[in-house]
Structure formats: C-alpha cells, structure tokens
Point group: C2
Chain length 270, copies 2
C-alpha cells in the first residue's frame, strides 16, 4: 500500500515511522508547504518521495492522511478529493467543521488520534507516538462504509484502538479534555511575572507544559472549536467560583468536598 502524508510535522512524521515499522506500507509519498521540512523528512528516511501538492499525493496514494493545521484540512481535502486514487483521512483535533465541509466526499473519513506533544516538526517524530492510543473517527451519513473500514484497519495495524463518535460530540468532549487544558496552561503561565520563574517547581511545569505548543496549530483549533471551548470555559468559571467562595468564607467542609471529588476523578484516570 502506498501511504500519502500531507504535512510532515510531528504527527505526519510519527505516522510514517509507525507505518514503516509495522510494515503496513510499501511506499510513503508526502508533501509539505515548507520545502525544508520535506528535505529533512527525506534525510531522516521518513518518506520515499516528495510531491509538490496535496493533489499529487492523493493521486498517488492508496490512503492519504492530512496532518496539517485544522483550518487547512478541509480546503486541502476538498481540492484533492477529485484527484484521489484512494481513501482520504485526517488527524485534526477538531472534527465538526471538517466533517461538515467534507460531507459530500464519501471517500473522506474524518479522524483524530488522541496523541500529540508540545514539540513540533519531523525531528520529534516517534514511532510509538500512537501505540496504545485511542483514534476517534467521525464519519458523516455520506461516508462510504468501505472507506471507514480501510481507515479503521490502517489505524488498528498501528496498534491503536479505533472508535466512532459523532463529530459534534467529539468537539464538545475535546473542548474539555484537550482544548481547555491548553487554554488554562497558557492563561496560567501568562500571568507569571518573570522574576517568579525561579520560584516554580515541577508542579507548575507539568501544569503549563501544554503552553509550549505551536501557536499556529492551537489558535486554529481554538477558533475552529470556539463555541464548545467557550462553553467549557464557562463551566470552569462556575467551578472556580465554588473554590473562591469556599476560600472567601474559609469553608473547610466545602473545600474538602471539592478537593476530594477532584482527587477521586483524577485518580480514576490512572
């Protein structure tokens, strides 16, 4: 099988390494808007051939995976679809807008592997980035069942678990489990005065690690999922008000309840 990758960054590069390692592909063709990235990807042996455009990749590949920022995926996939030799899918962190935009393209299967890192670029690609992770597919009513099956089998071959979920439900959940944590990390480190940087320990660093992620990628995710993200933010604000009230009145019981419930929930994540 010829695998096509559009956007050879951390995710695209890791996909390439994982697919080669599991020997599920015979050849990998790719494109990237930055020629330098393609050169480095070739040098690292991540790809076999660099092509000039997403259309060219889709025309060559049995399966083309769009690993570009979420605000570029729909346009690129729509442009490539008429030229596609095989099935198209993506790894975008938002799904409703992309799924809707591609509703008329039966061979496009919207997808999202729950894996990532605050690091960017093919240098950080890891063959185990996806292993053991959950991949969510959000096919629409018009998505071809055989296309869904092909994408499912591809991800399963990479040792992931694959599940289908409604695209809007996906975006509501990910707003809370991924996009809000990123926003919070950024907001928290954003109010840290420079002289207090020395007074941070591992807890602060862990809690704000996400804020090191790519501004370009994340502003696109935030904007594409802004309705659900605002909803999550309002929910958090209500929760913060409970803490503030408990602190203001030195309410030991309420504070205990809040912290115990949070610890229980966090411990359940293992």
């Amino acid at each position: 099988m010829i695998l096509g990758i559009v956007g050879v960054g951390l995710l695209g590069g890791s996909l390439s390494l994982a697919a080669r390692r599991r020997q599920v592909v015979t050849r990998i063709v790719a494109t990237d808007r930055l020629p330098g990235v393609l050169t480095r990807a070739m040098e690292r042996g991540l790809i076999d051939e660099a092509l000039p455009s997403p259309e060219a990749v889709a025309a060559h590949a049995d399966l083309t995976v769009f690993c570009t920022p979420v605000d570029q995926i729909a346009g690129q996939a729509l442009a490539a679809a008429p030229h596609a030799k095989g099935v198209l899918t993506d790894v975008g962190s938002t799904k409703a807008a992309i799924t809707q935009a591609l509703a008329q393209v039966p061979h496009f299967v919207p997808g999202h592997p729950l894996a990532g890192s605050e690091k960017q670029g093919p240098e950080y690609a890891r063959e185990d980035l996806f292993a053991g992770r959950l991949v969510l597919l959000t096919p629409g009513a018009g998505t071809a069942p055989e296309a869904i099956e092909q994408v499912r089998q591809f991800w399963q071959a990479l040792e992931t678990r694959v599940e289908s979920i409604d695209a809007v439900e996906h975006d509501r959940a990910l707003a809370l489990t991924s996009h809000l944590p990123h926003l919070l990390a950024s907001a928290l480190v954003g109010i840290l005065p420079a002289p207090w940087r020395l007074l941070t320990a591992s807890g602060f660093r862990d809690a704000t690690r996400l804020a090191s992620g790519s501004v370009e990628l994340w502003r696109a995710i935030f904007l594409q999922n802004r309705a659900a993200l605002i909803e999550a933010l309002l929910q958090l604000r209500e929760q913060l008000r409970l803490y503030e009230d408990a602190l203001s009145t030195a309410d030991l019981e309420q504070l205990t309840t809040l912290l115990e419930q949070a610890k229980h929930s966090r411990d359940a994540l293992a």
Copy 2:
C-alpha cells in the same frame, strides 16, 4: 549530628534518605501521629529511633525539621521550642502565618524546599527529591543568625540552593506558582464527566496531575494562604476573560498575542 524529623511522609522520608546518603547525620530520630508510619519508616531504615512526640524529638536532635501539614507546624514548633536541644525548621508550603507565629522563637528558622510530588507516605520517599532544588528560608527579625546559618548549611549539604525571602512575598509568589496550579488542576478534573475519561490524553493527565495530591495537606495550604490565593485567582480570571473575549469575537490577532506571550513565558522555564 542528630537529625530529628516530625512527620515521616514523603518529605520527611526523603529528607532522611538524602541526609543519610550525604552522611551529614549520625543518627535520625522521628515521630509521627500515625504509629504505623513510624513502623514502616523503621522497617525501611529511614529512621533510627521512634519517639512519642515532637517535644521528645526536639529534645534529642541538633536539628529538628517539621514535615507536617502547614496548619500543624506552628503549634507543634511552639510546643517543642522550650524543650529543644538545637535548631528547629520546617518544610511547609506557606510561610507567613508560621513565621509570624514563631516570631518570638529565635532558634526556629522557617523554610520551604520547592520540591514535592502528588504521592504521599514514606513508601514514596526518594533520596534525590531535593537535589538541585531551591530551598527558601523566611527568617523573621528575631531569628538568630547562627540558626539561619546552620539550616542553610544543612540544606546545602543536601545539594540544594538556599535563598532567603520575605515570608509574605513567599506566600504571594507560591500562591501563583504552586497553590493556584493545584486549584486549577482540581477545578479542571472536577468538571470532567466520567464518560469522557476515556477521551483524555497525556496533555490532560499532565495538566491535572496535581489534583491527585493529599486533600488534607492541600486544603490546609489553601486555607492558610487564602488571601494570596484569592488574589491569584482573580488575576487568572481576568486573563481567562481575555481568552473568552478573543474567542467570542474570533479575534485571531488577540488570540495569537495571548498564545505567543504564554509560549514565550513557558519556554523561558526550560
């Protein structure tokens, strides 16, 4: 030198391991309100002798370190001070209330090593927990210079960096760098619906790891530093409002500015 430890949990146990490893003590005596903890600490070789009370520890030790919850330290240290053979210090995460309460005890040196873990108990003690970390001392006007010097030398022997800082300034800074991150982690995981636990990835887990910490320890820290913590929470709320406004109006420029400033600040932490 005989080292005394009051409270043989993660911090007390790690202190013991570190002090033995660096051979800065000849003998370690300790107490804990839970007899089971003392038994386990003896079995693990963390301590040489279990004593019945903080007073007994202070009466035997050249340096007694209080490693108990922050709402217990001042009372225990005040009770032990008249019996003390040597110098007293502590590892509490809040300093203003403790420093003030012990203002009339020249041989008590308030301290705080910036190290910890969400794990609790002597089982998780690590000899390298403090290595390379910053220890903040917040002596008052009445603290004896030779006591400060003795505590400084002890911590330096454990390969930490030691600095002095005003107790109120300490609490304002730590409200932002430690206590608020913990509160945020708890608030975030507190609004996660159980069915969405499966939809979390490493980012969510890192961002909420702190919420697994001891409820007893952290509610005491929150209450003891509640004025500064509320102040930090209000600052964060303003920052969150900037994000909310940028999202509501789909203001790409403002969102970019916020995320870039946060990334710059986070990347500066290394």
